[in-house]
């Protein structure tokens, strides 16, 4: 496939999704141009909304960067959502238990959050490489489990004094919140950008990335070449989980400022879409994640101003997925067709 047509695929998908959304808005009698304008206004169009969009964008990019590593290894790490929750739990544990200056506590929270996320990811990786349990099933199970552990902590050991509520733990002390400049959570943004750069270099310029890609594309060939395939698979889970753990820590310390049941915000699942749309290429994820973050954040404005349910964001995402599949399928067919013509020529 030529470079141009590879770049076109996500753009065509997004255009298709937008067109379908406009159609949908017309059906519910909403002014489509104004609605899209509100989406834009509520996310990136106005300066004061941009920080909100970026704090959604950061964990999404972190999780996406991690997923690229597992996907390149041919591992469907669907459990990344649970790995974000595990990271958030680890970070919450640190800020609840330690009473030291923020410059000490916040880095420790990141380290522990990263370790928790990584450990949570290694479980499906280990089940896959040791026992052949498919990582999709164990990943889904472990996501449920992580969510249950979070709920248990919130209504149990970490419940607010006198209240048994699933609305979350007590807020963390403000000095342990991620620092901001203006309203920008610069730590989160910086970590997201670094993760993209690291994954890009890892996959593009290192022997590790080269072997990992070989494992993902043809495990048996890679094994015959002498690659320790299982180790590489397992390590891809560890790396992805670590980045998901960072995302969880950002969610806990930088956005919710406490542990809530839905601390992961669905970004793990959304990241899967981001990565599919990006075609597993790290450099594409920031832009595509920005689009998703803008739709998510902007849709809250939509409900306030136009009285359209903010679930429209979910609809747009869903339509986008279908558009990706349709465009992807069309492209694959087109590629086969061209290949056949080439053969006959």
């Amino acid at each position: 496939m030529s470079r141009l047509s590879r770049m076109k695929a996500p753009l065509i998908s997004i255009a298709l999704a937008l067109a379908a959304t406009v159609g949908l808005l017309l059906v519910v009698d909403a002014p489509p141009i104004e609605a899209l304008g509100q989406l834009w206004d509520g996310s990136l169009g106005r300066l004061e909304k941009i920080p909100d969009t970026l704090i959604t964008w950061s964990p999404l990019v972190l999780a996406s960067a991690g997923l690229i590593v597992t996907f390149q290894a041919g591992m469907w790490n669907i459990g990344v959502e649970g790995q974000i929750i595990a990271g958030a739990i680890g970070a919450a544990l640190v800020v609840r238990e330690l009473t030291m200056p923020a410059v000490v506590v916040i880095p420790i929270a990141f380290v522990v959050g990263t370790a928790f996320g990584s450990a949570w990811a290694v479980v499906p990786g280990w089940l896959r490489t040791r026992f052949g349990v498919h990582e999709i099933f164990s990943g889904v199970a472990l996501t449920f489990l992580a969510g249950s552990v979070a709920v248990y902590l919130i209504i149990g050991p970490w419940s607010r004094a006198g209240i048994a509520s699933t609305s979350g733990t007590d807020p963390f002390p403000t000095e342990y919140w991620l620092p901001t400049v203006g309203d920008y959570s610069w730590v989160a943004i910086a970590l997201a950008l670094i993760s993209v750069a690291v994954v890009f270099v890892l996959m593009r310029g290192t022997r590790y990335g080269l072997r990992l890609k070989a494992v993902g594309r043809n495990e048996f060939s890679a094994f015959l070449m002498g690659v320790r395939t299982k180790r590489y698979m397992l390590s891809s889970f560890a790396i992805c989980g670590a980045l998901a753990g960072v995302a969880g820590t950002v969610q806990a310390l930088g956005f919710h400022h406490k542990l809530v049941p839905a601390v992961s915000g669905g970004y793990g699942f959304l990241a899967i879409l981001v990565v599919l749309l990006a075609g597993f290429r790290a450099l594409w994820t920031p832009a595509i994640a920005l689009f998703f973050a803008a739709v998510l954040v902007g849709s809250t404005q939509l409900s306030l101003r136009l009285n359209i349910d903010s679930d429209l964001a979910g609809v747009i995402q869903g339509v986008l997925v279908l558009a990706i599949l349709v465009v992807g399928g069309w492209q694959a067919r087109h590629a086969r067709h061209t290949a056949r013509q080439g053969e006959e020529a």
């Binding site: 310029g205 022997r207 594309r217 043809n218 060939s221 015959l224 053969e343």
Partner: protein, 489 residues
């Protein structure tokens, strides 16, 4: 009714799987279709049974052309196919399996079905219990079930593709009895096999295919050596191989029993010396691949001992075999050797000895260019593995081989290559041998086996039935051995 095939063509890219096949099958006849692996038998049968569409040509029943676009069309026309692996739903009962493929409307007439199943069972002597689970049936009984189902669906042509793979001798006798009775009832029975012995035992008529064409058609019995010659063609051996001075024993197998999926190689004793070339002959699935994989350390033997370079390899894994100088090149170049989607530079880098964390792709491309030149690969450093032709893929695989090897294990090293490429490959391999490397290779090409091997081990049904010295063996003799017969009849 008679089934006629007229000028059937089916090409896969440059491969002519069927190249103008014209053939007639008569009712009441047990018609054998004989040919080596890759002769085009299975493709032809898939065309007749609607699994694939021919590029051109016509299938006609009693002179009327029929339109075959799916297996459903075929069965409507009365053509049923029994696959190598019977299509059986294991968790279902025998009766439910029988009913599962039945046509008709929404309503399922279990009573009617049960009666028909019983009738078929009585007529043909099937032994299974309709209410047992299909997973409890032997492979032979699953075939019976499938035959019963096809008959119920109105099959008047029954195609069996290598039906004796994986079933016991007594099950085979039983199957043959059923097939004879079906033919007596006026059905067309097409029996596809590459086993001479079975065709001789069962069939009234035989058609031999080679390279996608019909090369012979005769009423049985036909002298075996004629069939062998039709199957393999006229072979001109040129014993141009220089005898090499053999060294110490490089590989020794003693009483090795090893199982891979359906194939078990039992009680194998074999010695290969340094600089010796051992050819493995036999029909596909007779145990050659199993032996090679055991020697590569991919499947641990269940019994017996395996020694490489004087070192007992029991309990060692693939990486230890690799470290001991063993290199394995499987038949599937793109599936089991190269990585689709990765460039030649990436392949060279993957198999290099370098261990630096970062890869400098600039110098990697230069090194790839060197390898490409040295092995005359038609492709660039940035070309993907799948963009190469088969011959160039094989060249790339040879270029990726480690520098020092003790034992090379090769599956069909020149399959699908043109003569020039094949010779080039063998020159490279013989260079390795000259420096003391032992070579064990499996091939279906008698000429290749006799030309390059010092000895040829002939496999039949998981056993080495004979080890022959090449200079004193004729292609004819080898062909007979491969077919499971000890000599010309």
């Amino acid at each position: 009714m008679a089934l006629e095939l007229r000028d059937i063509h089916k090409h896969y890219g440059p491969v002519r799987a069927n190249d103008g096949v014209t053939l007639t099958f008569q009712p009441g006849e047990l018609h054998g279709l004989l040919g080596e692996n890759g002769a085009g038998k299975s493709t032809l049968m898939k065309v007749i049974s609607g699994f694939i569409e021919a590029d051109s040509g016509e299938v006609a029943i009693d002179g009327t052309p029929i339109d075959l676009r799916s297996p459903a069309d075929a069965i409507t026309a009365g053509i049923g196919m029994l696959h190598q692996d019977p299509l059986v739903f294991l968790p279902f009962t025998v009766l439910d399996n029988f009913l599962a493929g039945s046509g008709g409307g929404v309503r399922l007439d279990r009573k009617e079905g049960a009666a028909r199943l019983e009738e078929a069972a009585r007529r043909y002597g099937f032994t299974f219990d309709p209410h047992t689970l299909a997973r409890n049936l032997t492979v032979g009984e699953r075939q019976q079930l499938e035959i019963a189902r096809l008959l119920w669906l109105g099959a008047r042509v029954l195609i069996l593709d290598e039906p004796t793979t994986g079933i016991s001798a007594s099950q085979r006798e039983k199957l043959f009895e059923v097939l004879r009775r079906l033919a007596e009832d006026g059905m067309i029975v097409i029996f596809v096999s590459h086993k001479l012995e079975e065709i001789e035992q069962l069939c009234d008529r035989v058609t031999v295919m080679r390279h996608g064409r019909v090369v012979g058609d005769a009423v049985m019995p036909v002298p075996a050596h004629q069939l062998v010659q039709l199957m393999f063609g006229d072979i001109t051996t040129t014993p141009g191989r220089l005898p090499a001075a053999l060294g110490d024993i490089a590989v020794r197998l003693a009483g090795v029993t090893v199982t891979e999926r359906l194939v078990t190689v039992s009680e194998l004793d074999l010695e290969v010396r340094e600089a010796e070339v051992l050819g493995l002959a036999g029909l596909e699935g007779s145990g050659q691949r199993t032996l090679l994989q055991a020697c590569a350390g991919l499947i641990p033997p269940r019994r017996g001992s395996l020694t490489i370079g004087g070192r007992a390899m029991a309990g060692s894994g693939y990486r230890e075999f690799r470290a001991a100088g063993v290199h394995y090149l499987p038949a599937g170049r793109l599936e089991e050797g190269l990585v689709r989607g990765m460039s030649l530079a990436e392949h060279f880098e993957l198999t290099s000895d370098r261990t630096s964390f970062f890869v400098d792709w600039g110098t990697a491309a230069e090194r790839a260019d060197e390898g490409i030149r040295a092995y005359s690969i038609k492709g660039g450093a940035a070309s993907t593995a799948e963009s190469l032709s088969g011959g160039n893929q094989q060249r790339l695989l040879l270029a990726m081989m480690p520098g020092a090897t003790r034992l090379l294990l090769l599956e069909h090293p020149t399959r699908g290559l043109d003569i020039e490429s094949a010779e080039w490959v063998w020159n490279r391999l013989l260079e390795r041998r000259a420096s003391g490397t032992s070579i064990i290779f499996a091939s279906a090409d008698l000429d290749e086996l006799l030309r390059y091997s010092d000895r040829v081990a002939v496999f039949f049904a998981g056993r080495v039935i004979s080890v022959v010295e090449t200079p004193s063996t004729t292609p004819d003799e080898l062909g007979h051995l491969i077919g499971g017969r000890s000599g010309p009849a």
